[in-house]
Symmetry: C2
Subunit: 149 residues, 2 copies
């Protein structure tokens, strides 16, 4: 399975979130070549302030030992914000593959400065999902990144 | 109400968490002199990888506009880890008051570098709670901060 294949699992979550009325961002946690959990932004669905794609994925993965995170890659459709990057640093996940960072540039430099490998697949599909959502629901998107409407 | 008074609300959550068998770390979000939400580490209680004191508090507060976070102070019994510091940065919370950082030093420098005021009340009560828990359950504590048991 390639990085693009695993990103597809995150994109499927983003599309599921969109179908629920949510922000179309998804994530997948892959350990030793297997998807151990997926997640999606559930701000709208759960009225949540902390369920971004990556954090929802980590929560769905449940309590894992550090040795598992140490072999993991986090796939996410969008550049991870400060909270999600912080979660990646907390658990010492060594690699992040993201769909795009044209819509939103997260804390990639912080990740790299802490030794995390960050790969951007520059996915037109991920960007199109976000462009359409932001055009339709700018106030939800701004809330999701801590900006004023 | 003083910072010490508001920290007491976070300590009460830490003690509640301890009574549930959880990691004794609590938090309170204060806006314009009023506690709008409290939270506690619920790794053990909910089998959660993302419910630290501060993130549980933010989740309990629900979806808030950026203008509310901009007037908030996050009180926490322990120095905030990378994930929780990232959540504070995401929502542009301008001030953090912590109980202690002798047990664990989180991402305080990252917060300060991003303009967040960080105040350490150096609470013996907070430190005693953590010292006792870590002595009794070192494996849970190490899991909570992404370290090997």
């Amino acid at each position: 399975m390639s990085d693009a294949d695993f990103l597809s699992a995150a994109i499927a979550e983003a599309r599921l979130g969109l179908s629920e009325g949510g922000v179309p961002i998804g994530a997948a946690l892959v350990v030793s070549g297997a998807v151990v959990a997926t997640g999606r932004n559930r701000r709208v669905q759960l009225g949540s302030a902390i369920r971004h794609g990556e954090t929802d994925c980590l929560e769905n993965a449940g309590r894992l030992p550090g040795s598992t995170y140490a072999r993991a890659t986090m796939y996410t459709t969008l550049s991870p914000c400060h909270m999600c990057s912080g979660a990646i640093l907390l658990y010492k996940i060594p690699r992040v593959v993201l769909g795009e960072n044209a819509t939103f540039l997260g804390a990639e430099e912080l990740l790299r400065a802490n030794g995390v490998e960050v790969v951007n697949l520059d996915s037109a599909e991920c960007k199109a999902l976000m462009d359409a959502f932001i055009a339709a629901h700018p106030e939800v998107w701004n809330e999701d990144i801590g900006e004023e409407p």
